[in-house]
Each structure stands twice: as C-alpha cells, then as structure tokens.
Amino acid sequence: MSITYLEAIREAQARALKEDDRVFIYGQDVGAFGGAFKATKGLAKEFPGRVLDTPISEDAMVGTAIGAAIEGMRPIVEMQFADFSSVALNQILNNAGTHYWRTNIPCPITVRLPSGGTKGSGPFHSQSMEALYAHYPGLVVVTPATVEDAYTMLLDAVAIDDPVVYCEHKYLYYHLKADKLPADRLPIGQARVARAGRDLSIVTYSAMLHDSLAVAEEMAAEGYEIEVIDLRSVKPLDTDTVLASVARTGRLLCVGESFPWGGVTAEVIARVAAEGFHLLDAAPRRVNAKDTPIPYHPNLWSAHRPNSKSIGAAARQLLRE
C-alpha cells in the first residue's frame, strides 16, 4: 500500500471525525463532492451531517467555526485555495487569534489552506500565506512537508485548544507518497533534521523541503554535506533545532516559497543572527520567490519560485564565502 500527502490529509480527517464527536468539516464543496482537491472524499457519506458544504463566504465560514469552537466543537474549515483566505483573514486574526487571550476561553479551530504554487495556477491560486498568519499573535501555523507530517500534524491541529492555520501544499498532494501512515509523531513545534550534514544548513519548510533535499543530494556528489532542516511549523518556530544545526555547519541558507519581503526566511535569519551570531562563519542567505504576483505561465512560474537551480546557486555561493 502507498499513501499520498493528499490521502494522508483525508485519512487524518476521517480519523478525527471518527474519534472525536466534536469534529466537523466546513467548506465549499467538501460534502458529497469531496472537496476541490478531494481531501474530504467520501467523508460526507461516512460521517453524515458532519461534513458540510458552505456558501462562498470565507469570512462567515471561519466566523461560524469560531462560534462552534467556543461552544466546544472542533471545526476544520477548508479554504478552497489558501488565496481565498484573504477574505477570512479578519476572522482568523482578530477573532480566533484574540479570543483566548481576551476571554480565557480557547477557540480550537483548524483552518486548512491549500497553499503554494502549481503549474498554470496563476496569481490567485498559488499563494503561500503563512507569514500573514504567523505575524499576528494567537495562532499556530503549521506547514507539513511530508506525508507523515500531513497526517499527524492535522490530527494535532484538531486536538490542540488553539486556532491552527494548517498550510498544506498543493504541489505535494500527488507528488509525495509514503508506504504507510505513521504510527507515532513528532510534536508540533519541533523542527526535524531531514538530512544531516556539516557544511551548510538549509532551513526550509513545505514543498521547498524537497527542492532543498534535491540540491543537497546533487551537491553530495560534489562532496558537500548539506544539512536540511524542515521547520514543520513556522509558529512556533523551533529556533533551537535551527541554532544547533548552524552550530554544526556555520552556514545558513533559508529557503521559502513565499514573497521575499519578510516572512519565514526573514524571521529565521533574524533569530539566528540575534541568537547564533557567533555560530555563523559566513553571511546567512535567503532564497525566496520573486517580488511579483505568481505567474500563470509555467516558464514564468518556475522562474518565480525558488528551484533547485537558484537554491543550488545560493548554496554554492555561500560555501565559497
């Protein structure tokens, strides 16, 4: 048997629905249709009345989930694309994100954001929005990069008492497979050394993990041992694991798929520069997408996002310094 990243998301939801009465799924086309990407395939039938199609009302979808969560439910909201969460952002940041702090009553919603670029998807179906959500207080923001994490982190997201923005990468949906669902898990908040090395640390997350691993593999042939850290969650961000890696390698390259101003890569570098300055043997570097909307044409799209060429070039340059 083999299971894709997408199937892992489905299975995690099936299990959450099965094991916890408080769980329901709320989103456009998630019911009988099984979701635009089929992440809820079959669930409406298996769990009647608990997987509900919604109107095209992202603000109200999240608002409804918030009210239900305050009353003790564990809603999972599926955005059809992360990009459309821009119209739900107010409820996520200002309502869900502030509720526990203001009232002492937690607001355990999970908002699933099908994120990231795929060929031909263009400016409004490709975005990675983790930075907007992580900047504001009160939210946990996770970015699973593996089938295993897609599964366990979604179960964790539902289980924890705080609002979680779960950024699932659309490119990984079908491209990533595992033999089976994991039996145990690394908790949210811990980064993972995805590949050990001693010459350079690439710190990354989500789909960029795989481009980074490819670069590490490719450069291994050139004799470099590149360590690759998968952040797994960008908030909380596991600074300790990153610092430990930089302590080993002395060199830091951060790779993210989102826009270049701010965001995860800036935050990681700012932390390492502040807390691990003396660990660094060379200037840390970032590779991000370009500072334009995400292009439709595959040629432009692959030039816009970081890729093994641009990551490799940055890594080589860093190793020369």
């Binding site: 918030i66 239900a68 409820q91």
Partner: protein, 343 residues
C-alpha cells in the same frame, strides 16, 4: 404600538394592555441610563481610558431582545446594548471593572469598555469589526445543534451602518442556509458615527433585506418599548419554535454622540423633531406612570438604589489593583507547549 391601545386612567384592563414584562424591561433601561450617565461623567472626569459608547435612545430595542433569552441561549451584543447586557445577566461590577480596567474584570484589563463578554455563559465578547459576530453567533447555534441541545436561540445585534459590512451579509446568508434559530436585531439610529442614512444605503426599507436572505422580517418603532417587547419577543419565540431566522429592524435616533467624545453637532434639529427621535426611556416612563404601574417616587427610588449600587461597584473597581505588565504571562495561546520562543 402600545399607545395604539391608547388607554389611560388605570385599571386592571389597561395595565393588561402593557406587555407583562414592560416594567421589568423598564427597570433595566433605568439601570442602563443611570449607569451610562455615570460612565459619561467618569469619562468627562478623565477617569476612563479609551472611549465610552452609550445606548441612549435605544435601550428599549436592546433590552427587548435579551429579556427573553434564557440559560443555554447565546447573546452577542454590540456597543449600544448595555440594557440588553444587563437583562441577559451581566453584573454591574463586570461593567465597572471593564471600563476601569480592573484585573478582576472579565477581560482582566486586556480589553476594555464595551468589548467584553463571558462566552462560557453564552454572553459573547464582540470584536470591533462590524458584522463579524453574526456568523460567530450562527456557529454557536450550529454547535448546540450538533451537541443535541434543544430549545435554544441566539440573538445578535447590528446597527444600520454595520449592515453594509460584507461580514454581516455573509453571516445572515449562512445563518439562513443553516436554518439556525437566530434572531438578528438591527437598529437604524439614522447615523453611523456622523454618516447619515443617505450615505449608508439606498433602499427604502432595511427590513426588506430579510426576504433576500430567507429570514422573516419585521420593522418596528424602537422608541416604543411595548412594540419592541412584542415583536422581538415574538421573533425569539418563533426562532425557538423552529421558524426560519428572524430579522427585526427598529427605528430610533441615536440620542448621544457616537461616543462621549463626540458632540454630535451633525445631527440636525430637523431630525430631532422626527417621531423616531423620541426618547424610548421617557416614553416608557410616561407609559408606566399613565398606567400607574409605577409612580414617580418609586422610579426615583429605583434610580437612587441603582445609583448606589453603581457607585459601590465603581468605587470597588477603582480600588482594585490595576493589571501590571510584569504580572502578565504575555501568551496569546493556551497550549503552553506551543508557545513560540521569540528571540
């Protein structure tokens, strides 16, 4: 609507013409009036940080909803709903503590003035963004249905200004799709801050929007407590009985500034002569006197009693320790294992 029954010179029969909770409602209105006068004076005295927003002129609409709510119901009020908040069970001390920033208040000084609630008791704490609470209330009702609760309703409020917000529209529509027992009480007080109705909407009758959502809709004179009790009470009854969501639009004039900082000089003398510019409180008071449900002394006595309670609560809140930065844990999430360790 009450005056319609037009009776004076009291007798059992004329009293019966009054809604049986008229007096009770009036007392909440009185408490609100007295308390908000106190808040305004504290504000003028520089004793309150931030703004004070009062419900003067719309106490009748506000109280009329909350009065019919019961344990297990959800109440999501907004800034002009002090009367409803009291009727729903909020304590005088909670109000005083929140305005004065006591750490013992329900918001512990973290949030202030009217941004308070006790969600565990069904009393929701609004965020400022208008319209946002409509869907939240809907979600609470959905949860109750999921949990198998019975006989519950939710009530939330909105101003005619907030009705322009996209969030309000989405919330109304989704409530209707979910057919939750929701009552939405809108108050058209003719202004959103300084903005008059002409620049807020262009329809003839806001209650007309009910139909477009699949709500049952009603328009009432918000200066008439009896009409408010009758219609909003009826709406709550219908929602509880499983009818579609209910929408009531009450017409009044805001008899204050937007907040106490605002002298409302933009409200024209002309508009103040409109029938909707009557003070619901005075109308109710006169009605009570006329029907001899209370005499002036009794009302004055109540006022004194309320005043004393308020003074006590305010005094107490003022004496309570203020929150201190170094006593806060400064964490916005509840799961201590998931706190981001910032640099």
């Amino acid at each position: 609507m009450l005056e319609t029954a037009g009776r004076k010179g009291s007798s059992a029969s004329t009293r019966a013409a009054l809604h049986d909770r008229y007096l009770e409602a009036f007392r909440w209105m009185l408490l609100t009036r007295v308390f908000e006068e106190k808040l305004a004076s504290l504000y003028r005295g520089g004793m309150i940080s931030g703004g004070v927003y009062v419900g003067r002129g719309q106490e009748a609409v506000s109280v009329a909803g909350a009065l019919f709510l019961q344990k297990g119901d959800i109440f999501s009020p907004l800034i002009r709903d002090q009367a409803g908040r009291f009727a729903f069970g909020e304590s005088i001390l909670d109000v005083a503590r929140t305005y004065l920033g006591s750490r013992q208040g329900p918001m512990r000084g973290r949030d202030g003035n009217i941004h308070r609630g006790r969600p565990a008791e069904g009393y929701y704490a609004m965020i400022s963004h208008l319209g946002a609470m409509t869907s939240v209330t809907t979600g609470a009702l959905l949860a109750k249905r999921f949990k198998g609760e019975k006989n519950f309703v939710g009530l939330t409020t909105i101003g005619e200004g907030g009705m322009s917000a996209g969030a309000f529209h989405e919330g109304m529509n989704i409530a209707a799709v979910e057919q939750v027992p929701l009552v939405v009480v809108a108050t058209n007080n003719h202004y959103a801050y300084s903005t008059p109705n002409e620049r807020e909407f262009a329809c003839v009758d806001l209650a007309e929007r009910a139909k477009g959502y699949g709500f049952e809709g009603y328009a009432i004179d918000g200066t008439d407590l009896g009409a408010c009790l009758e219609t909003i009470g009826g709406a709550i009854k219908r929602a509880r009985a499983g009818r579609p969501p209910q929408f009531v639009v009450a017409t009044v004039l805001r008899l204050s500034g937007h907040g106490e900082h605002d002298d409302a000089s933009y409200i024209t003398e002309e508009v103040k002569l409109e029938p909707f510019a009557r003070d619901c409180f005075k109308v109710a008071e006169e009605t009570l006197l006329k029907h001899e449900l209370a005499d002036r002394e009794t009302i004055a006595k109540w006022r004194r009693e309320f005043s004393a309670e308020i003074e006590e609560a305010v005094g107490r809140a003022q004496q309570e320790a203020a929150p201190q930065g170094d006593e806060e844990d400064w964490h916005a999430i509840s799961d201590r294992g998931l706190i981001d360790q910032m640099g």
